[in-house]
């Protein structure tokens, strides 16, 4: 009898309730099928946020269950069936009103206190010995500068595990938002302002992230990776980045052709790579990402393409198709020009 009524009237809130609970619990402990998840924190900041969120979440589930079941119970019990009593003309009840004003207020205080405590804990001011990184958002790629280490790289942020990190974030054009969910909440990158993020990554790994503030045509292609390495690996990465660029292997004709093509693509040379890209010792263009050690990166084109020869070739053939609205012009390169450039770029370890 009850099942029939449950089905005929409104059974969904129960299913909706269960749907809310089970998958979340399941997800919390599964492996890495969700690389950009906000529920698998791997730094002190994101763990603080996650703890606060779980606290609020369970309060919400409690209120959800209480209020929705009151709603469903009322609907089922007082539905008009033959012989049901006439409606009692109640106008109100002050005590009940006070009760259900204070109850939500109390729950909100229970949420507000940890919230404000966490706000002040995550103010974003890192200790003095933190790794300083300047993050600059561009239309549709990320630039990272390590002032202490003199390194400039793009899209892939390398950080040492266990050491505090201080990001000072700004933008070179429109508003972006730097967001690597597993490491910390997002912080807007705004032109003319510098905002801050501070966290201490506590586990090694490659963490996904993405721009989270609409910034134009290729907002969706402005992805990033954060490589957290053991301190030793980080130091070797820094050493390689700061080392003098490896000389072009003169014996490999393809790489030599690639270097020539990099410096000058047909007349007029307006579209040559050196105009927009910096390649230490070769060029100082700043419109595009710094390519000094592009060979050592795992992805290119704002983290959307793998940096193997197929990925680079696909990007060089038609940047506009990969990143609509991209400022990099589409030059009709011949296949061997592309092969040469790929070889050259991959040699820039």
């Amino acid at each position: 009898m009850a099942r029939a009524f449950l089905r005929r009237f409104r059974v969904s809130p129960w299913i909706v309730g269960l749907a809310l609970v089970t998958p979340l619990v399941l997800m919390a402990c599964s492996g890495d099928p969700y690389p950009q998840s906000t529920l698998h924190p791997t730094s002190d900041t994101s763990e603080a946020i996650d703890a606060l969120y779980r606290n609020i979440f369970w309060w919400a589930v409690f209120v959800f269950v209480v209020v929705q079941s009151a709603l469903v119970y009322t609907i089922i019990r007082f539905r008009s069936r033959p012989g049901a009593p006439e409606a009692r003309q109640i106008h109100g009840n002050t005590i009940v009103e006070i009760a259900w004003t204070l109850a939500p207020a109390a729950i909100l205080v229970a949420i507000a206190v940890p919230t404000i405590r966490t706000i002040f804990k995550l103010k974003g001011d890192a200790p003095a010995d933190a790794v300083q990184v300047e993050v600059v958002g561009h239309q549709w790629w990320w630039e990272y500068r390590y002032p202490q280490l003199g390194i400039v790289t793009a899209n892939e942020l390398h950080l040492p595990q266990g050491r505090p990190v201080a990001l000072s974030i700004s933008s070179a054009d429109v508003i972006h938002s730097f967001w690597a969910p597993k490491l910390s909440g997002k912080r807007d990158a705004m032109p003319g302002r510098t905002t801050h993020l501070a966290f201490t990554p506590d586990s090694v790994g490659t963490f996904h992230g993405q721009c989270a503030e609409f910034c134009g045509a290729s907002h969706a292609n402005m992805r990033l990776r954060v490589m957290v390495e053991a301190p030793a690996d980080f130091d070797t990465w820094v050493a390689r980045q700061t080392a003098a660029p490896v000389a072009v292997d003169s014996s490999d004709a393809l790489v030599l052709a690639g270097e020539a093509a990099f410096k000058k693509i047909r007349d007029p040379a307006a579209h040559s790579c050196i105009i927009c890209h910096t390649m230490a010792g070769v060029s100082g263009g700043i419109a595009g990402p710094n390519l000094t050690h592009v060979g050592s990166r795992t992805t290119i084109a704002g983290g959307t393409l793998p940096s193997d020869s197929a990925g680079i070739a696909q990007w060089l053939r038609n940047p506009m198709a990969e990143k609509p609205g991209s400022l990099m012009p589409t030059i009709d390169l011949t296949d061997d020009e592309i092969a040469a450039l790929v070889a050259y770029l991959q040699s820039r370890k």
Binding site: R10, L20, P23, L24, Y34, Q36, T38, L39, I49, L52, Y53, I56, A60, V63, V67, L71, I75, F78, R79, S80, E86, A87, R88, Q89, I90, H91, G92, W100, T101, P104, L108, I111, T115, I116, T118, I119, L122, Q139, D173, I175, W179, P181, G185, K186, R187, D188, M190, P191, G192, R193, H196, Q210, C211, A212, F214, A217, S218, H219, A220, P324
Partner: protein, 618 residues
């Protein structure tokens, strides 16, 4: 201001004039309400279509149903259309038709201003949507100049440097024009509610829908000027090259966000309060008992309106306003959850002890409550800044505001459609189709927006035309797309219901046996609404023990009633405004732009003078 003695067009019971001209010059709040409803519903369907294409594009990763540029235009127009061209005007349709009837008036305080609001809204909506087809006029293909910077168009992406095309000009000018329509309606309804109540109807005897509309009008009247100024700065930046949002000149991009969200949050209460009002009318009628805690529901509505002004920066927690500002706005946002919660408890208590009849209107009202609870709770979740740093600008927030806007406002408006349909057209919508519509929509909306909570928490940002296949979001997006298609079918069922029920049996003055004044007169009501203005003695006049005085209303008016004539000048004034808008749109070519704008101004000024000195008796 009419001075010459004007032969009153008093007739015993004037039959409404018919024909297109009578519609163009109408000043009858009922006709204007129907026109608002039809126009807004068409824009609602357009917005829904945009949503369907968005969902098809996001159905799978790396899809290419639409290009990035088209997708950005679609989601911007979906947001702008749904907020400004669908939900607000649908609420306005109910304001127009129902408020005068509920407070026992013959019409609004300024009938011509009412017509002016509608025509400016219609032309503004057409102006905004013309951007889809206006590409060739600007030397590019079609589907290339619609606004593409999001419904809240953050600064310096909308600056001439980063949005050189006419896309944002359409958006800025369109919103300015729509703002004029809303402001005009705001002054009109505030005066109507204050000044034209039936004798004996004190403020605390007004129906809750009128009360919520009253708070909404105050929010409109105080919030729209702020966005008008924000848009003026953007328009000056784009047309004259001023420096308001130019970072190189010291301009601050956050100024736009503050000005927009100072308007933006009262705006979302402008969207939800009318629906709350409708639910507060529907529940008592189908529970056969009065609203529980009338005064508390009214005061919490007023409190929401006032506190609504103090929460705007919770949209900006990610910009790093500093811990003090974060704490203040987090606290005020949580504070506003209390009156909202109180309203929900009062609705449930209204049904407690009642005899619930599950007609479609009632089902939609219950659907409103169930889904508004989920929307409210997910809202409280990101009222706390640290949690918001993970949730803002992700699909978790998309899920939140769709639960309160679709699950809330749209369900409330559909409840209003089913509830007042007999009063507007004289026949009810079919019950069976109504229930089918509800169930399909309820499942469709939940199937669409519930998975978005998960895709948001799993890292899917807002407004991306595609996403990586490796993020594990594929199934959730597929579910959302399926839900969107189902919701589309549900709306189709409603459209079919509208046409099939045209030949329905006459519904009579009070089909639901409801208590408020609009059910005392015929369905559809005569041009003058009430043969005799009733005197009201308590909150629920039609449920009074001793019946209503004079009870019931006489069939024909004892004395001739003056019905204000039509006027063409509101439409002419609206045409003047839209011409100025088109002129401003062509600002890249100085001479034609100035010429069109001046012609528009001339038409506007002439219309205003004619309007002012036209003999018109209210």
């Amino acid at each position: 201001m009419a001075t010459t003695a004007m032969p009153h067009s008093t007739t015993a019971g004037p039959t409404a004039p018919t024909g297109l001209w009578s519609w163009i010059t109408t000043t009858d709040h009922k006709r204007i309400g129907v026109m608002y409803g039809v126009t807004a519903f068409v824009f609602f369907l357009i917005g829904g279509l945009e949503a369907l294409i968005i969902r098809l594009q996001l159905g799978a990763p790396g899809n290419s149903i639409v290009s990035a540029e088209h997708y950005n235009q679609l989601f911007t127009m979906h947001g702008t259309t749904m907020v400004f061209l669908a939900i607000m005007p649908l609420s306005a349709a109910f304001f127009n038709f129902v408020i005068p009837l509920q407070i026992g008036a013959r019409d609004v305080a300024f009938p011509r201003l009412n017509a002016f609001s509608y025509w400016v809204f219609l032309l503004g909506g057409l102006f905004m949507n013309a951007s889809f087809l206006a590409g060739p006029l600007f030397g590019t293909g079609t589907l290339s100049v619609a606004p593409d910077a999001g419904w809240f168009g953050y600064a310096n992406l909308t600056s001439p440097q980063f949005s050189p095309g006419p896309n944002i000009d359409f958006w800025v000018l369109g919103l300015q024009i729509l703002g004029i329509a809303s402001l005009a309606a705001g002054f009109n309804f505030i005066t109507t509610i204050i000044n034209l109540r039936a004798p004996g109807m004190r403020l605390m005897r007004m129906p809750v829908f009128t009360w919520m509309s009253f708070v909404t009008q105050f929010l409109i009247v105080t919030a729209f000027p702020v966005i008008t100024i924000g848009l003026v700065f953007l328009m000056f930046d784009r047309v004259f090259g001023t420096n308001f949002y130019r970072v190189s000149a010291g301009g601050d991009v956050l100024l736009w966000q503050h000005l927009f969200w100072l308007f933006g949050h009262p705006e979302v209460y402008i969207l939800i309060l009318p629906a709350m009002g409708i639910v507060s009318e529907v529940l008592p009628t189908f529970s056969r008992k009065p609203l529980f805690g009338y005064a508390v529901v009214v005061y919490s509505g007023v409190l929401i309106g006032v506190v609504g002004w103090g929460v705007w920066a919770h949209h900006m927690f990610a910009t790093g306003l500093g811990p003090i500002a974060d704490s203040v706005f987090s606290a005020s946002t949580m504070l506003i959850a209390v009156p909202t919660g109180v309203k929900i408890f009062n609705w449930i208590a209204t049904m407690w002890g009642g005899r619930l009849e599950f007609r479609p209107a009632m089902l939609f009202a219950i659907g409103f409550i169930a889904q508004f609870i989920i929307g409210g709770l997910s809202g409280v979740m990101h009222a706390s800044p640290p949690a918001d740093l993970q949730q803002t600008d992700t699909y978790f927030v998309v899920a939140h505001f769709h639960y309160v806007l679709v699950g809330g406002a749209v369900f409330g408006l559909f409840a209003g459609f089913y509830y007042w349909w007999p009063k507007v057209f004289g026949h009810t919508l079919r019950d069976g189709l109504g229930k089918l519509h509800f169930w399909l929509m309820f499942v469709g909306v939940n199937l669409t927006f519930f998975p978005m909570h998960f895709s948001g928490l799993l890292g899917m940002p807002r407004r991306i035309y595609t996403y990586g296949a490796d993020l594990g979001l594929n199934t959730f997006n597929l579910l959302s797309t399926a839900g969107a298609l189902l919701t589309g079918v549900a709306v189709l069922v409603f459209v079919i219901n509208m046409f099939l029920s045209r030949r329905g049996p006459p519904a009579g003055p009070n089909p639901w046996n409801a208590a408020t004044l609009e059910w005392a007169t015929d369905s559809p009501p005569p041009v003058y609404n009430f043969t005799v203005i009733p005197t009201v003695h308590d909150l629920l006049p039609l449920w009074r023990k001793g019946g209503m005085e004079p009870s019931p209303l006489p069939a024909t008016p004892p004395a001739p009633i003056h019905v204000p004539p039509g006027s063409v000048w509101p439409l002419c004034a609206a045409i003047g405004i839209i011409t100025m808008g088109v002129g401003a749109l062509m600002h890249h070519h100085l001479v034609p732009s100035l010429a069109t704008a001046l012609v528009g101004l001339a038409v506007l000024v002439v219309s205003i003078y004619q309007w002012a000195f036209e003999p018109f008796e209210v």
